[in-house]
């Protein structure tokens, strides 16, 4: 086995330096993956705190805790941090750790760039979060940054734009790194169509990132010149068009939601087979489904903006193209179900989260179908129905998948098994509260409560209270997750190389914890 020889062959100079220097100077994919994951968890908690403050304000009508202006800062920062600081870095961290292990590579192809992209991201968020303390406060225009509203931002404006540039650069570098690694460094015999689905999902995600992050960067740069140099890209008085920004934003923003969910699809495609003790059903179809979702994600953007007033043909085109995404997504759901069919299913924590994903993400898919249909969307648009929809795909969708991945691979990272009782408690509390939190928001939206408001007419009180209780419960339950991870890092029952009953894939052939260097000699594939 490759890792057996390596300690003897290379001596100590390959071990990590001690202390803080290790994390500043490391180019090891595992260390960088760990940093991404810890960073993501921290951001998840900070942004979750914002969300709980939002839910506390919405607990009853009237303004109790925050001013309307600060409320808008909270919703904006909650979204920006969750999207760019929590979900994306978590999937990048997982890719850093697992892609080389899954394809039998020694490290990422561009290790220094890898470290650079992490620290860019870190400082991007220090910059973004510091806007809370500048005159005028943080951006309050919603994460969509629509002009002209966003141009009313105070000193935070250039800081937020620069933060977005930094995180964009970081994402692009990360994406290049993953593509180069997967294309060039697969172990001999690992053809593309033998590659594990998590790596596949990241390969396609990386292309989406490279395609759309520059568009977003361009869009915010145009905002910047409108703000400081009196250009008129989005200013109607100068011949510009505020709606142009919305097109630019959503041309980035729609693929962005797939950037968050495709790696989740990859994770679920790893976990369901393991705990059904049966290889994935319809592997090629799964690959093609991810690829077609990736393609379709580029031609549906204007479904976010049906109410801006669009030609009839445009409305129909974006309705139809959006509905078509349900076809490959459906194929994935059916294939996961078929993987379980005639399997031998057990319910360890990763599988519990994967199963919850299967049900709850599908609910988000249904509401997604509904908002895709344009005359009905004239009612749904900008209401809590939409809030419920995208939180169903992002929380019990992307976030549950990430938690499933942590529960799946944590023993491989730490070398310890975690406490199954706490994990199950965490799962059940999270799964129940997430529904208490988001399901009533469907009702609120349909009954006419619009988004992004700190206060509401009194007939919405009941469901807002229920939703807030769900929110507090969900938030507090995550402390169990943090506690479990800390305990697992510190110690616990030793994990075997395979960890699970039916391990499949190269990552389970190396010992647990995975040695600092793995696959320095390419593994033999059967």
């Amino acid at each position: 086995m490759a890792h057996g020889n390596e300690a003897a062959g290379h001596g100590d100079h390959h071990g990590p330096p001690k202390g803080f220097t290790r994390w500043l100077t490391t180019t090891n994919h595992k260390d960088i993956g760990t940093m991404y994951l810890v960073f993501s968890l921290t951001m998840f908690l900070i942004s979750g705190l914002f969300a709980m403050l939002i839910r506390a304000e919405l607990f009853q009508p009237g303004l109790q805790l925050v001013d309307p202006g600060f409320y808008n800062q909270l919703t904006t920062m909650h979204a920006l941090i969750m999207v760019f600081g929590a979900v994306m870095p978590a999937t990048v961290g997982l890719a850093n750790w697992m892609v080389p292990l899954q394809i039998g590579a020694a490290d990422m192809a561009l290790p220094r760039m890898n470290l650079f992209s992490f620290w860019l991201l870190f400082f991007a968020f220090m910059l973004l979060i510091s806007t809370l303390f500048v005159p005028g406060g943080a951006p309050a225009s919603g994460w969509t940054l629509y002009p002209p509203l966003v141009l009313q931002t105070g000193n935070a404006f250039p800081m937020a734009v620069f933060a977005i540039h930094l995180m964009g650069a970081s994402s692009i570098m990360g994406a290049i790194n993953i593509i180069v690694t997967i294309v060039n460094m697969r172990a001999p015999g690992m053809t593309l169509l033998k590659m594990p689905l998590f790596s596949w999902s990241w390969l396609i995600t990386a292309y989406l990132l490279i395609a759309v992050m520059p568009v977003f960067a361009g869009g915010v740069t145009m905002l910047l010149t409108d703000y400081y140099f009196h250009t008129s890209f989005f200013n109607a008085a100068g011949g510009g068009d505020p709606v142009l920004f919305q097109h630019v934003f959503w041309f980035f923003g729609h693929p962005e939601v797939y950037i968050m969910i495709l790696p989740a699809f990859g994770i679920i495609s790893e976990i369901i087979p393991t705990f059904s003790r049966k290889p994935i059903f319809g592997y090629e179809a799964m690959v093609y489904a991810i690829a077609s979702i990736g393609f379709l994600s580029f031609i549906v953007w204007a479904h976010h903006m049906f109410t801006v007033g669009m030609p009839l043909a445009g409305q129909l085109f974006f309705t139809l193209s959006t509905m078509l995404i349900a076809v490959p997504t459906g194929v994935k759901i059916f294939n996961w179900t078929a993987t379980m069919w005639r399997g031998s299913i057990s319910f360890e924590p990763p599988m519990l989260f994967a199963l919850a994903f299967l049900f709850l993400f599908t609910i988000g898919g249904f509401s997604g179908l509904m908002v895709a249909i344009v005359p009905a969307d004239f009612q749904y648009h900008d209401t809590y129905f939409v809030v419920a929809h995208f939180h169903y795909v992002l929380v019990p969708g992307a976030v549950f998948a990430i938690m499933a991945a942590v529960y799946y691979w944590l023993p491989k990272w730490t070398g310890h098994m975690y406490d199954m009782t706490i994990a199950k408690w965490h799962f059940w509390l999270t799964a129940i509260f997430v529904n208490v939190l988001f399901f009533p928001q469907h009702f609120l939206g349909l009954a006419g409560m619009q988004r992004r408001i700190p206060d509401y007419p009194t007939q919405f009180t009941d469901w807002n209270m229920v939703s807030s209780i769900g929110g507090f419960g969900f938030g507090l339950s995550q402390l169990l997750f943090v506690w479990l991870i800390i305990r697992c890092v510190k110690g616990g029952e030793r994990a075997t190389a395979g960890v699970w009953d039916w391990p499949h894939g190269l990552e389970w052939t190396v010992p647990s914890p995975a040695p600092y260097h793995t696959f320095e000699k390419a593994p033999e594939l059967h």
């Binding site: 009839l312 299913i345 900008d382």
Partner: protein
């Protein structure tokens, strides 16, 4: 402003009327579901919405049923042994690609004629220009010389201040009342021209089934129509984030029979 004063009783009377007619509807579904509304468009959109709800529930029963069945029948704890040969089934895979495609296209088809109707502005008998401001609305009855602003009612505005000590539950139509509502005739197709003065707003009254953005520098249009037999007060709010007081710029529309409306309009024109 004498106009504001003279008509302050109108919304109250019309509002009471509307409350009476809307009462049975409020009792059941209105807190959980989309309102059927009071116009042809809103009812069509409601019907579409319900069809989609039922289709989604149908698909949910089938897919969730299969998942639950798999979880029950193929548990390791019940001695299930994995059939590792079950990896492909060309026919099944083709079926679950093609059948959803057909269902989805079928779901999208009914939108075509409704969209054509929604985008058809012809035959409108009254045009009102609606301008969004941070944070109130302006209504101009084009060609009639009547124009006024519509802001959050004083009672709500006082109660919504942080630390006001006023319980919102004691305020009638909290955040859904304005000082001067838009008045329209029932049974008439009314064209709204939407624009904004500062940032993007969106004009939305759920009972009319439509919302559309009001964009500075651009003129959007939409039409509304209130059933002839449903005069009353209908309430909505700005639906596009427009800054700090986005949540505090309601829309109130009083729909009255054409004859009454003409009288109201004549009175407005006289005082203007």
């Amino acid at each position: 402003m004498s106009i504001v004063k003279r008509n302050s009783k109108l919304p109250a009377t019309a509002g009471a009327l509307a409350a009476l007619t809307a009462m049975p509807a409020l009792a059941d579904w209105s807190r959980l579901n989309m309102p059927k509304g009071v116009s042809e468009l809103s009812r069509e959109i409601y019907d579409m919405h319900m069809i989609m709800v039922w289709i989604c529930l149908g698909i949910a029963v089938v897919t969730f049923g299969a998942m639950i069945l798999a979880m029950i029948r193929f548990r390791k704890s019940k001695g299930a042994v994995a059939d590792t040969k079950l990896l492909h089934n060309a026919r099944l895979e083709a079926a679950w690609t093609l059948v959803p495609t057909i269902i989805l296209i079928a779901m999208a088809i009914p939108s075509v004629d409704k969209l054509i109707k929604i985008e058809d502005m012809s035959g409108s008998r009254l045009t009102v220009k609606v301008t969004g401001y941070q944070w109130y609305w302006q209504y101009e009855y084009l060609g009639k010389g009547v124009s006024f602003y519509s802001r959050l009612a004083r009672t709500s505005d006082l109660a919504r201040q942080r630390g006001s000590g006023i319980d919102p539950n004691t305020v009638e139509n909290y955040l859904l009342e304005v000082d001067k509502p838009l008045v329209v005739p029932t049974g008439t197709k009314i064209r709204l021209l939407l624009t904004a003065n500062d940032v993007i707003h969106a004009w939305w009254v759920p009972d009319f089934g439509m919302k559309r953005d009001a964009i500075p520098g651009f003129m959007n249009e939409m039409w509304i129509s209130v059933d002839a037999d449903k005069p009353g007060t209908y309430r909505g709010k700005c639906a596009e984030l427009c800054g700090a007081d986005h949540g505090f710029m309601p829309i109130v529309v009083v729909a009255m029979p054409p004859a009454e409306f003409e009288a109201w309009l004549a009175q407005q024109m006289a005082t203007e």
